[in-house]
């Protein structure tokens, strides 16, 4: 799909990117003002990856997400009010206030969950792919994870299972250059993480993760391959996180200049200059994103707090 030339697609991609950006800016602000608690991992600067990837998916497809998962959840079509309610620890939140940011999930849109465990979602994605294979049908799974996750044993084992069983899984690495403070250059002895795909006999490709079109093309190709039964692929999307890793981050491991350089490669601003929308249309999309987030905050704020009374009942399914 041509995301820049096709105005419908461009509008959708841009609206989703802006929605993620505005949602996370709002979260950042609520947190700074002490109105939100816990910890938050913001994906500001990385919006092109979930948006480009999820536009390659259809109803019934699955994703697995990460600790930095707001963007995946939104790009997959989750309701902003239920997301915001979750972060505000409300009973109407996606997880009834039990999960928070690190476990946010909208199962209805195939999101099997954010995950507080680095690489925790990778074998789970392989398993969802296995279920699809056993059930039959054309569904696929996209598994999102960061560069840091690629050194976990869970990643290795999950990718290998998908590879040897030709499972319909697309592994999407959001390489934002750091796993917390650890630079990719120190954690790996390969130039591109996509080089690791060969170890599992699957295709690997590195793309500009700040360009939703590039991500979309690569993931779209991998999704088509998976749907056809040819097995998994690995897409490395190179991007950058503007904010600290989490609230405890003092940015001691990288320079202001580096952050500034990447801000100049803002995926949203670049897309706006490239896409076929007029200045008026762009303004409309921006307003729409802002309004959607405001509305979500309003609804979420009005909702009741998560109730502690039924804690133990909630542990087991029945």
């Amino acid at each position: 799909m041509d995301l820049t030339g096709n105005t419908g697609a461009a509008r959708q991609a841009l609206l989703t990117m802006w929605t993620i950006r505005r949602f996370e800016e709002a979260v950042d602000d609520l947190f700074a003002r002490g109105l939100m608690h816990g910890t938050m991992h913001l994906s500001i600067g990385q919006e092109a990856v979930p948006v480009g990837a999820c536009l390659a998916l259809a109803d019934g497809d699955y994703i697995t997400s990460t600790h930095r998962g707001h963007g995946h959840c939104i790009a997959r079509g989750a309701r902003l009010d239920a997301m915001m309610a979750e972060l505000l620890a409300k009973e109407t939140g996606y997880c009834r206030g039990r999960g928070g940011s690190m476990h946010i999930a909208d199962v209805a849109t195939g999101n099997l969950g954010a995950n507080g465990i680095v690489a925790g979602g990778v074998p789970i994605a392989a398993g969802a792919g296995l279920a699809i294979r056993m059930r039959g049908g054309p569904r696929v799974v996209v598994s999102f994870f960061g560069d840091g996750a690629v050194n976990e044993g869970a990643w290795h084992e999950g990718v290998n299972l998908a590879a040897i069983w030709d499972l319909p899984v697309v592994f999407v690495c959001e390489n934002n250059h750091y796993g917390m403070s650890m630079p990719v250059a120190r954690a790996f002895r390969v130039e591109r993480l996509a080089e690791r795909a060969a170890a599992y006999g699957i295709p690997g490709e590195t793309v500009d993760g700040n360009d939703p079109q590039a991500v979309h093309d690569a993931v779209g190709k991998a999704v088509a391959r998976a749907r056809s039964g040819a097995g998994p692929s690995f897409v490395e999307a190179v991007t950058y996180r503007w904010k600290g890793h989490s609230k405890s981050d003092k940015n001691l491991y990288r320079t202001r200049e580096e952050i500034e350089r990447w801000r100049e490669r803002d995926p949203i601003a670049r897309f706006e200059t490239r896409c076929a929308l007029t200045e008026a249309e762009l303004a409309e999309v921006r307003d729409q994103a802002r309004d959607r987030v405001r509305e979500a905050i309003r609804i979420a704020n009005a909702a009741p707090d998560a109730a502690a009374d039924s804690l133990t009942d909630a542990v087991y399914a029945s």
Binding site: Y62, T64, G93, Y94, C95, R96, G97, R98, G99, H103, A105, V107, L112, G113, N115, G116, I117, G120, V122, P123, I124, A125, A126, G127, A128, G129, L130, A131, I132, M134, R135, G153, A154, H156, E157, G158, N160, L161, I164, A314, V315, Y316, A317, S318
Partner: protein
């Protein structure tokens, strides 16, 4: 509390080994429900490290009796994902010691997803693994790790001690919409007993009174159940009548049955194979000590457990590391005679 003794069930039975009983449960569950499948290392052509899956691959095919690479974390994670996506996976881990490899997917994922997602998803899967010593397999292949799993909210934990329970509890575990860890015992695999032909469930959370006696209550799990029964016979010859209670499932625990029995006998001897410190019998001791049975206790609560040592290789050392029938007889009679 239910005592499922063969004569009470009134259904057609034959004698099967514990391993055969497990296999029959797997076969019946797979035949009844397309979503059920088995995965694990060497469960296919090899038939499982302990022969449990046997010929199942020939009956259900390689897709549903799925050999995996040696990747316990990946395998359990794949089961979690498959369960989330509508399947009913049954994972075999060759030795329960290797659940250490998969602990993240067991404890941080499978156990917690239902709760963390506010009930929006569930993880109906079973993890089967043999525990226990007695085969000369040494420290990394002989552990009894039930206490680890019982301490993780969100998991259910099952320890069948007879062939009938091996089948019935496993079928109940497969039905359950939650992750269930079924800890089998290597020494029991070849033991025989009556097993119903039908796919009869043994409900999770109901202890079995294996023997009734007025002088003390022996609570035992796994291979310690049959050792305790043997000890009880010898104690009877000495004039001591022991109740032998098998919790069968640790989570949910039938605390009621334990407390009732100890209230009646006034004495408790808790027998496990796992090392004493932090073992599940501590939980049972604490359950008794905080319960209505407290006022009825005539003696300190006795624990007879594995030593706090890794399981050694040498047969005589291995035997010394875990309770034997003699030890149970000695501890029980001392408990009764001294108090």
């Amino acid at each position: 509390m239910t005592a499922v003794l063969p004569e009470q069930t009134g259904v057609a039975e034959r004698t099967l080994t514990y391993a055969e009983a497990v296999r029959e449960a797997l076969a019946q569950a797979m035949a009844a429900d397309d979503r059920v499948f088995v995965l694990g290392e060497d469960v296919g052509a090899y038939g499982g490290a302990f022969g449990v899956t046997g010929d199942l691959v020939h009956r259900f095919g390689e897709e549903r009796v799925r050999d995996t690479p040696i990747s316990e974390l990946g395998i359990v994670g794949a089961a979690v994902g498959a369960a989330l996506a509508g399947m009913r996976p049954i994972v075999e881990i060759q030795f329960s010691d290797f659940t250490a490899q998969a602990m993240d997917q067991i404890a941080n994922q499978a156990a917690k997803i239902h709760f963390m997602l506010g009930g929006a998803a569930s993880v109906p899967m079973v993890l089967r693994a043999p525990g226990g010593s007695g085969t000369g397999a040494a420290a990394q292949h002989s552990q009894s790790l039930e206490a680890w799993f019982a301490h993780v909210p969100g998991l259910k934990v099952v320890m069948p001690a007879t062939p009938a329970d091996a089948k019935g509890l496993l079928l109940a575990a497969i039905d359950d919409p939650n992750p269930v860890v079924v800890l089998e015992h290597k020494l029991l695999y070849k033991q025989s007993g009556p097993v119903p032909e039908a796919a009869a469930r043994v409900p999770l959370g109901e202890a079995a009174v294996r023997r009734a006696g007025a002088d003390l209550t022996i609570v035992a799990t796994g291979v310690m159940v049959s050792r305790s029964l043997e000890a009880a016979d010898r104690l009877a010859a000495q004039g001591i009548e022991a109740s032998v209670l098998d919790p069968r499932t640790l989570v949910p625990l039938d605390g009621q049955a334990i407390v009732d029995s100890v209230r009646a006998t006034g004495r408790a001897l808790l027998v496990q194979e796992a090392p004493k410190t932090g073992g599940f019998m501590a939980e049972i001791a604490a359950t008794i000590a905080e319960s209505r049975a407290f006022g009825f206790l005539r003696a300190p609560i006795g624990r007879l457990c594995g030593l706090d040592v890794p399981i050694p290789y040498a047969p005589q050392l291995e035997r010394a590391a875990v309770p034997q029938v003699d030890d149970i007889v000695r501890e029980a009679s001392e408990l009764v005679r001294r108090w």
